[in-house]
């Protein structure tokens, strides 16, 4: 269990304010946020590499906030790997061993497991300078896990890697996490990467935690406009609430529950919006006629913008659906979504 309470960091031109986080032992936790949100600074504060102005960090009930970085037992893996360029791959991985009382047999076993799981067998005697981006990242991960830290901090480990190799490393990281008792805390700005790896997460923006909890819960129920935008909630509208109805630019939208305030926002995920040529005869409560504005091809899927009066709905559909429905700009069709798909805040 990692408990961070009221952590503050003041750097010139940037600060982290009042960070509170609880991360379960052996969790795969993701810190999500746009660039400049303070993700890396937060990791470095946890590792003891930047000075904290206030707050405590406890790992398994041990307060580590005043310890030197080398006493914390927290590994860190940077985006740019930071391998030791004067050492070869094996020496890099084994660097930390001399500072830890790990039995030789146990160390050899762990070394074998890491090398095997990360596919580093053929690279052990190579100079680090000759490695590819993905190989460097795998060496950095092995090096951090070699000393069996309580926590390993991963700073956007996938973002510097060619897209083709990302899936593979993602897979390896997932398997590694299952086979160790180390807690993984990963930073990313990519929501779908987070979805593939983690179950719980925190959203950070401007040095503050915006939301934290179950990842799907954050995805479905963003607690602020920023979180909604960031996780890809494209249909965010200002609304006036009347009981379970929300009025948006003259349209009445059924929501699943009564709103607690009179003014606010509603949001609908693009993939929850169904397009159809005829009005749907179903349990769907919201259905509006509109005109297709534009179609943005996204490869496997398409984003269709449909105007209903002054309101533009954004719907994500598959390519085959696009062809089957004959959707093109100017065409009139129905925009439908369930009341339970409407999230108000």
């Amino acid at each position: 269990m990692i408990v961070i309470e009221n952590l503050c960091v003041k750097l010139p031109g940037f600060s982290l304010s009042d960070i509170n986080l609880r991360i379960k032992k052996n969790d795969f936790f993701v810190l999500l946020g746009p660039s400049g949100a303070g993700k890396t600074v937060l990791l470095e504060a946890i590792a003891g590499l930047v000075k904290t102005a206030a707050g405590t960090i406890r790992v398994n009930d041990r307060d580590i906030s005043r310890l030197a970085p080398e006493k914390r037992g927290i590994g860190i893996v940077y985006q740019d790997c930071c391998l030791f360029p004067h050492l070869n791959v094996r020496e890099n991985i084994e660097y930390g061993l001399s500072y830890h009382k790990i039995e030789a047999a146990r160390a050899a076993e762990l070394f074998g497991v890491l090398v095997d799981k990360l596919g580093l067998g053929r690279l052990l005697d190579r100079k680090t300078i000759s490695l590819s981006g993905g190989e460097r990242q795998r060496v950095a991960i092995a090096r951090a896990l070699m000393i069996e830290p309580a926590v390993v901090l991963l700073d956007e480990p996938l973002s510097a890697i060619d897209p083709q190799f990302r899936a593979e490393l993602q897979h390896q990281m997932k398997r590694l996490h299952h086979s160790t008792r180390t807690t993984f805390i990963m930073v990313t700005h990519n929501f779908s990467e987070a979805l593939s790896l983690a179950t719980s997460a925190a959203i950070i923006n401007g040095g503050r935690i915006e939301q934290q909890g179950d990842l799907m819960e954050i995805f479905k129920r963003p607690c602020s406009r920023f979180v909604a935008d960031f996780v890809g909630m494209k249909n965010v509208f200002q609304a006036a609430f009347e009981k379970s109805l929300a009025r948006v630019n003259g349209i009445s939208v059924h929501t699943g529950a009564e709103a607690s305030s009179r003014k606010g926002y509603i949001a609908i995920r693009p993939e929850d919006i169904v397009l159809s040529v005829t009005r749907l005869d179903s349990s769907i409560r919201n259905s509006f006629m509109g005109t297709v504005d534009s179609v943005i091809d996204k490869g496997f899927t398409c984003e269709v913008c449909v105007s209903v009066g002054d309101t533009v709905f954004n719907s994500l559909i598959t390519r085959s659906a696009l062809v089957d429905l004959g959707i093109e700009p100017g065409r009139e069709l129905f925009v439908s979504f369930k009341a339970t798909a409407v999230h108000s805040f």
């Binding site: 010139p12 590499l49 080398e70 860190i76 930071c82």
Partner: protein, 260 residues
């Protein structure tokens, strides 16, 4: 990509500048006859002067290394109020006119100044001594070492040291296992620059210590006393030493760029 007028202006300026630098040096190198060169180096006074130059410059470089390294590392890794001021002070000796350096050193090491009295009580003489030469050479040479070492340290990402610490190494352990191996070449280049600067110094040395005579002072003395012809051979010997040091430095700096 035709070669336009701009290209030819650049080439012309390059030729003029290279000729301006190379012609005097080449002329100097070929001026004295080989027997003259040999006769000069057999002269005990000349050899003593060269020895003084090399040993005092070497001592200055060593002192700069020992005291300058921690300061250079500290400046490379920390930002604090007054850092710019400290960096400016370190650069100061570079711009101070050479005789003024000598005058300034003498003004605090004379009997009228408390530092001079302490030194005198300790039996350390500055005026006209090896120690005095080493002091002024350290003064003029140290900024070159500190700046080179600082750049070397700055080129190493602090994150690589962070990683080392997260793996359990202390700050001192990290310095010797990671920082030093990576900055070694920059530090060596700094030492060589400091050495080269110290060997070339004349104005400050001639004020603090006319004797024991180092090579630049001897060149000046022979020029004043006997004329150009008599100062040439020893000038060539000193030039050759400087060129050798410069060559080592250049080779090191090329490898750095090649590896980066």
């Amino acid at each position: 990509m035709k070669r336009d007028m701009f290209f030819w202006i650049c080439v012309a300026c390059g030729v003029v500048i290279l000729a301006f630098i190379l012609i005097p040096l080449v002329q100097l190198l070929i001026a004295p006859a080989p027997e003259m060169m040999k006769k000069t180096i057999m002269d005990g006074d000349v050899r003593a002067a060269l020895r003084v130059s090399l040993s005092t410059a070497g001592a200055a470089a060593l002192i700069s290394l020992v005291f300058g390294t921690p300061l250079a590392f500290f400046l490379a890794r920390n930002n604090f109020k007054g850092k710019k001021f400290i960096e400016s002070v370190i650069d100061l000796p570079i711009v101070i006119p050479h005789p003024v350096v000598g005058i300034a050193i003498l003004s605090v090491t004379g009997r009228e100044h408390w530092i001079g009295r302490i030194l005198g009580d300790l039996g350390v003489r500055i005026l006209g001594s090896h120690v005095g030469i080493i002091v002024v050479l350290t003064f003029v040479g140290m900024p070159f070492y500190i700046n080179a070492a600082k750049h070397g340290f700055e080129a190493i990402s602090p994150r690589i040291e962070y990683v080392s610490r997260s793996l359990g190494a202390s700050m001192i352990g990290t310095f010797f296992r990671v920082t030093f191996p990576l900055a070694f070449r920059s530090m060596l280049m700094g030492v060589i620059m400091c050495l080269a600067r110290a060997i070339s110094e004349f104005g400050a040395v001639v004020i603090v210590a006319y004797h024991p005579m180092n090579a630049p002072v001897m060149i000046y003395e022979r020029f004043e006393a006997y004329g150009l012809a008599y100062s040439l051979p020893i000038s060539v010997w000193l030039l050759l030493i400087s060129l050798a040091i410069f060559l080592v430095f250049r080779m090191l700096s090329m490898n750095v760029k090649g590896a980066a």
